[in-house]
């Protein structure tokens, strides 16, 4: 164990480095409990008797941007969109991989192509089109997410389906399974790890997405968390930093909880996504 001894220095170095790494978040948490006037002037000092305001910033922020309804919309849109994306694109990817025709090939290459296209390219036309189709509500936006997120998901599922031995599926067909039964009873169970990685990548994207919901949703009625936070910034660039700090804290908490619970899968998902991509 001579080796571990040598690395004590590195452990100390990384420990200090880790603390510095989380410092920005800790500073935001500290400031969430300070009076507005103290946040900008003394952002790095601890809250004391003079500057401490308790939960005032939180109450003010929640009232100002209606945080809980933003949280609800974010949660609904993310969960529903990811669920729809997983079911639809995995079925589509399996169909594409198992049927060789011009349509399926074209779809496959279009999906790869769509991954490189920046959102700005389709942003204006997509927002007008979804307006015309009345998709500007939390249910309609699921279709938009399915369409714009299909590229990566179909591509990753196709990569996985290729590795499933076709013999199992043929055996299922001989035993009298319809394609639907084959998919849900045979293919679906073996693809679980891929569902997890695709699901995590799409969740990270949709939960944090700002521009797409801003342009597609009817903003007067529905705000997601990133949009609500951007709205704290007033018309002339003035920001209520007290409410802002409190809302940043509330926006970060669910992410950190999610991360701590699913950490292993998130990191595996990222690696799997990178290797396929």
């Amino acid at each position: 164990m001579e080796k571990t001894k040598k690395h004590v220095g590195l452990t100390v170095f990384f420990s200090i480095f880790s603390v510095i790494y989380v410092l920005p978040i800790l500073i935001v948490v500290l400031n969430a409990f300070k009076k507005k006037a103290y946040i900008n002037r003394y952002p790095f000092s601890m809250p004391d008797e003079k500057s401490f305001v308790g939960l005032e910033n939180f109450v003010e922020g929640i009232r100002k941007i209606d945080f809980f309804s933003a949280f609800g919309y974010s949660l609904f849109i993310t969960v529903a969109s990811v669920a729809v994306i997983l079911v639809c694109t995995s079925m589509c990817a399996w169909y594409i991989s198992r049927r060789d025709s011009k349509v399926t090939k074209a779809m496959y290459y279009l999906c790869i192509f769509s991954m490189v296209v920046p959102f700005q390219m389709v942003m204006f036309t997509l927002s007008k089109l979804s307006d015309m189709l009345k998709l500007g509500n939390p249910v309609g936006i699921i279709i938009v997410y399915l369409g714009f997120g299909a590229g990566l998901a179909v591509f990753m599922f196709c990569g996985f389906v290729k590795n499933i031995p076709i013999e199992i599926e043929e055996a299922a067909t001989i035993d009298g399974c319809s394609p639907l039964q084959t998919f849900f009873k045979v293919v679906f169970p073996v693809m679980k790890p891929t569902y997890l990685s695709v699901g995590i990548l799409e969740t990270m994207w949709i939960w944090n997405d700002y521009l797409l919901p801003l342009l597609v949703l009817n903003i007067k009625k529905y705000k997601t968390i990133p949009i609500a936070i951007q709205y704290l910034k007033g018309g002339y660039g003035s920001i209520d930093w007290g409410a802002m700090m409190a809302m940043l804290v509330l926006a970060i908490i669910p992410i950190i909880l999610f991360y701590l619970v699913c950490q292993k899968y998130i990191i595996e998902g990222v690696i799997a996504g990178a290797v396929k991509g």
């Binding site: 080796k3 420990s15 790494y21 959102f119 036309t125 089109l129 279709i143 399915l146 990222v270 990178a274």
Partner: protein, 280 residues
């Protein structure tokens, strides 16, 4: 089986196909067409040929943001990848607490760009006020602020990919190198680096496209201030569409140019790093 599958097209493929048309194919096609038109909404377009494109190249804000984006991408790609690779090398040496460090370094990736932008706006303004300045005092503050923010966010992500790549290098190669008396530097240069080319390809690709498409962080951190001097391409396009009436066609032309640039750069970068990959 093949024949019977065809009947199932409406169940398996149609939903995704329709959504893909609404979410991507139709807007993309319309986008290309509208870049040759003058319009304010998509229904009142009149064809004007290359007029929008001519206007793009005489728009000083666009040329500035193009140059700035290129600079930003180069600087952030180099910094992010060098740092991430160095950390990954140290992390695979079996030091104590690796798991905790990995957890910490990856965390900022899960936080959205808007939230990150405001977190760092507070930090930077807090530091700069000791010098009597703010983040929007000079364009270079905003630029380097954005670089630091992106490093903080992305080093952990790239590190995870590099660690996976480093762990897949077979250990007997290192043993052989040790027997041959290779120095640490030689081992790194002749074994570790060439064999991690696949992960380098992926990470540079991801960081190049992330840098080029950056929007949320830019909007929340400086919003282009002072006077659009820290405005990257994606934000410039957004402001052209939604900040200047009558410029929608120009905005669409800018998007097409933006899209072509991203494709060309992605292809160039992939072929450049792929050619250095070696067979194990």
């Amino acid at each position: 089986m093949k024949k019977s599958l065809k009947k199932y097209f409406p169940i398996f493929m149609l939903p995704t196909f329709l959504a893909f048309c609404i979410g991507f194919i139709i807007p993309f096609g319309m986008g290309i067409y509208l870049s040759f038109c003058e319009f304010t909404t998509v229904t009142n377009a009149t064809f004007v040929g290359f007029k929008n494109y001519m206007k793009v190249f005489t728009d000083a804000t666009f040329l500035h943001s193009l140059w700035l984006t290129a600079l930003f991408t180069v600087v952030s790609v180099i910094l992010i990848n060098v740092l991430a690779y160095a950390v990954a090398l140290l992390m695979t040496k079996g030091i104590r607490g690796t798991n905790i460090f990995r957890t910490v370094f990856f965390m900022p990736n899960l936080i959205g760009g808007i939230v990150l932008g405001y977190i760092w706006q507070l930090i930077f303004n807090g530091i700069l006020q000791y010098f009597g300045r703010t983040l929007t005092y000079s364009a270079s503050y905003g630029f380097w602020g954005l670089v630091i923010l992106m490093c903080w966010q992305q080093v952990g992500y790239m590190m995870i990919i590099y660690i996976a790549g480093l762990q897949s290098i077979p250990g007997d190669l290192y043993e052989a190198a040790e027997i041959d008396g290779a120095s640490r530097w030689q081992t790194l240069k002749k074994i570790t680096l060439p064999l991690s080319m696949p992960s380098i390809t992926i990470c540079t690709f991801l960081s190049v496209t992330n840098g080029f498409k950056l929007f949320d962080q830019n909007l929340a951190l400086t919003n282009g201030q002072p006077s659009d001097k820290t405005e990257l391409l994606a934000l410039n396009i957004y402001n052209t569409f939604y900040g200047r009436t009558g410029w929608e066609g120009v905005g669409q032309a800018k998007s097409v140019i933006f899209f072509l640039l991203v494709v060309v750069i992605a292809l160039l970068q992939l072929s450049a790093t792929r050619s250095k990959e070696v067979q194990q």
